[in-house]
Symmetry: C2
Subunit: 557 residues, 2 copies
């Protein structure tokens, strides 16, 4: 519980020391505003887990104080946790139009749309919760309609940047509001929370507008069909694909569920302008002159079930990649995805396609949506905060961001490089990081939220590496004698037909073990399962240098 | 079988469309020379597999014709398969001194050293096998003592480059023999096989010697201990670490089994010169002035059990990373390793270390060992081959290498972009690619070679994602009645204590299923296992949206 002497408290329940599951809590006395509710994709060590969300125990304990869940923008690491968190704790959601549209898609999928309070805001909105006021400022990023958040309290203003970059020649005039940021800085910022994704990268991002030129050039050069893959939510990139298609007289087909959904929402809400008659159905592609088609598809990160992966393995019923078609990756592979992306490129080459791939800085087909070092310094300079917390990044990014903040004049002792759950308390304009609230990873697996824990994961790991042997025996209750021969069933250890000799040896060993323990008292017989496990383990390790999970099933009758 | 009309045949049993498990076969009539015998590390989809080697059925069927296994150099992807292949098929091994030293370490570990014929060669060696002559040329790469191979036949010469780059100012005067390569080219090359690892990369590699300068500078700047991590087999890099330590008055400790082993072999054989008294034991580090120590360690690729990973998680008994120590990654992360490397960097920063990391071109702490585009063109220009097969690379690398070969004048129809097992046959100096020999991936798991196949892997995958439910029931043989209540055991599905209600529901469903099938004839009772599986599967999917493996164990008494 927050003690009464803490007037203003700031902490993260997710998003620090990680990329993903962003959630930040700003609290002034009895008023809490939560910022973002993202999901995180599990790495390969979390076997079978679908998604990771935040531990929201703190919010559940303080639910009466929560005034709003404010969402800065519509990316998965900022909205992906919403349906799972709402099932545990209802909160009114405040977001801009496109962001609300994308959240709506999710809520409908989970049957939560009707019961959720959705409040439309824009960068001019002005909210009041008790003594606290919340205002916003426009930023730009790789999705339209992004917000930074200002939390005005009697102690001072806390600014949360959301994800941002400074694109000064943006697509669709989607300018960052630098003048408003300057005004916020002039009025005084007590504490800044700023994102750190690209804090390791020197320089200033090129403008998204340059990507459009490269796309158009590639469309012009292509003699046959063009496939281009990017994140569906990168609406400005999609707009540039549309524009390039129009300029080069090509029709546009969409492949992939999220591409179709996001384009529909973005067009309906006016974020995307597609000329009448340009969109064609995927079924029409085959009938068209290949010089007259562009196929915009999902899967730029090598996701195995997405359109591009299926196209590369000729596994798409309606559309095929033919020799001399062009395939463009309008993306850079996210660390961890390089191998799956490479596999797709190899397959596309095998189909005879011309492939344009590699880092965006080389191909010109991608720019990052996150501020690089000079942009981060610009934000720090505009805001002139007294205190600074680098957020939204792994530790080395937070570390580099701290150095950047020092370089533009924030005092080292006023910078808090913290972890999820670490609370920064501010009283009389003095900040201290002393206490912790509960935070952590909650696993989503199928319909279950939090029901898969460490024991289950440890078992899955063991099973995944060496499989399992189930040893079934029936013993007499009266004298402990075997009633029938033991039966050993392998799953994921060895294939029975190839390894019958080894399995017979296991059965023989089990018989010996039982015979040796006969005559022991009932109490000792309880240890029979352990004896069998140990002796079979030793045998298998000697013969195979493997350690499968061993499950003796003993039936006494 | 090779038909008699095929005089000269060339193919790969591994190394094409992949990085790893290199093995190339050169055959002239009844004389076979095998080049390299590498292993490949499995990707994360091959659960529990330790290593992948080649399918050597062709060699086993033609074992009387095999004259030599020639090893071009001592990297794992060229020697790692030797112990496993030798267990199936004995062959005399020809290699240079350092390469033989490294192979010896492996053979001793597998108890194969005494029974293997090891033949020492150098770049001047001249071997004769029937009508075939084999000669060599010196190349350079990220390990000393590398060879290219020339297979001289009445049809003409076949050249295999091994792995190479052109470092014209190499460490330890380890020059590539460009004059000999030019002579081979002038004498006429019928077919060139050249490696393709960096065929996507423009330019010419910087010299390894430049790395030495950067290492020395970093040692000089460091105020406390320096940790530096690189591949142990990069003996020239190790030499430069030794030299930099000497120039900056630091002692050197080695951490990691492969670092200790390789340094011992390389020093003993004269490839590495370490000044008397420079090496200290890891136990001495703690007692030393931190300004006077360098620790050279394994783990630059983020391998979880290697020294650097253990240091980063303070899990090394003898040595610790302290605040303001310097840690240098003298490496670039191999695709797929980025995440594990990042995790280590984060942990090192948390320990307060200064970390020098990132791509070698940025930090200056690493150069690649593989020829970039201009170097590949230089090799093609020196050799002037009539025919060309790009090897040692994934498909997009082979494809780019083909374009490079065309750009320096090799005719497009004379370039074979082939797969493992595809044979190029040459008769009367005319090459054709028509037939295939058996090739494939053989999995090594523990002591087993090839005993883990697709069924076992499919089970491991299923188990890893959703775990397993074992349902045990005892039925009466006479009337099919349940003798005791069913027992459901979960491993990797749910944790019993948290999910007793669900498991009870499963048990109830099993009882109902059995009751419904009672009175059915014995034949139908055989389907009881299937009935139980199906109905439990449906129940679990409805309740949890998961599909664990279900194993009903039915005991009839």
């Amino acid at each position: 519980m927050i003690k009464t002497e803490n007037k203003l408290s700031v902490f993260a329940l997710g998003g620090i020391n990680e990329i993903g599951k962003n959630m930040y809590v700003l609290q002034y006395e009895d008023d809490i505003v939560v910022i973002d509710c993202g999901a995180k994709f599990p790495d390969e060590s979390l076997l079978g887990i679908d998604l990771i969300i935040q531990d929201i125990s703190y919010l559940q304990e303080n639910k009466d104080k929560i005034r709003a869940l404010v969402i800065t923008h519509g990316h998965e690491d900022h909205i992906g946790g919403i349906p799972y968190v709402l099932k545990q704790l209802n909160m009114p959601i405040y977001a801009t139009r496109l962001t609300l549209g994308l959240i709506g898609l999710k809520l409908k999928e989970h049957g939560l749309f009707r019961q959720t309070e959705l409040v439309l805001i824009d960068s001019d909105s002005d909210l009041e919760f008790g003594t606290v006021k919340v205002t916003f400022f426009k930023t730009n990023h790789s999705i339209p309609d992004c917000l930074g958040v200002v939390f005005h309290t009697p102690e001072g203003a806390v600014v949360h940047t959301g994800d941002f970059k400074f694109d000064l020649t943006p697509v669709n005039n989607d300018y960052p509001d630098i003048h408003k940021m300057a005004k916020i800085g002039s009025d005084g910022v007590l504490l800044l929370l700023s994102e750190s994704t690209n804090a390791e990268r020197p320089g200033f991002n090129p403008s998204e507008i340059l990507v459009g030129g490269h796309i158009e050039e590639a469309f012009r050069k292509a003699r046959r069909k063009v496939f281009i893959s990017t994140f569906a939510s990168n609406v400005h990139r999609v707009q540039q694909v549309v524009d390039a298609a129009q300029k080069t007289n090509r029709k546009l087909a969409l492949l992939g569920r999220s591409m179709v959904n996001v384009v529909a929402v973005a067009s309906e809400l006016g974020y995307l302008t597609i000329p009448e008659g340009m969109l064609i159905d995927k079924n029409e592609v085959r009938g068209m002159d290949p010089e007259k088609v562009v196929i915009l598809c999902t899967g730029s990160q090598g996701e195995p079930m997405a359109a591009l992966s299926r196209l590369s393995s000729s596994n798409f019923r309606e559309v095929e990649v033919h020799p001399d078609d062009t395939v463009i990756f309008a993306s850079s592979p996210i660390p961890g995805n390089e191998k799956s992306v490479s596999r797709i490129i190899d397959n596309l080459y095998l189909l005879g396609a011309k492939v344009i791939y590699g880092s965006g800085t080389v191909t010109g087909m991608h720019v990052s949506g996150h501020a690089c070092q000079e942009e981060l310094k610009l934000m720090l300079t505009l805001m002139k905060p007294k205190y600074f917390i680098p957020i939204h990044g792994e530790f080395r990014m937070l570390y580099q961001h701290r150095l950047l903040a020092e370089s533009v004049g924030v005092e080292r002792e006023n910078i808090f490089v913290i972890n999820n759950g670490d609370v920064v308390d501010i009283n009389n304009r003095v900040a201290r990081q002393t206490r912790k609230v509960q935070s952590g990873n909650i696993f989503v697996d199928g319909l279950g939220i939090g029901d898969v824990g460490n024991i289950v994961l440890r078992d899955r790991k063991l099973l995944s590496e060496e499989g399992m042997l189930v040893i079934v025996l029936t013993l007499s209750k009266t004298d402990g004698q075997l009633i029938s021969d033991p039966d050993t069933i392998s799953r994921g250890f060895v294939y029975r037909n190839d390894s019958q000799a080894l399995l017979n040896e296991v059965n023989q060993l089990v018989i010996t073990t039982i015979n040796n323990s006969r005559g022991e008292s009932g109490n000792q017989r309880i240890n029979l399962r352990q004896h069998i496990k140990k002796s079979v383990e030793t045998l298998l390790y000697t013969r195979t240098k493997r350690r499968p999970m061993i499950l003796p099933v003993i039936i006494e009758i």
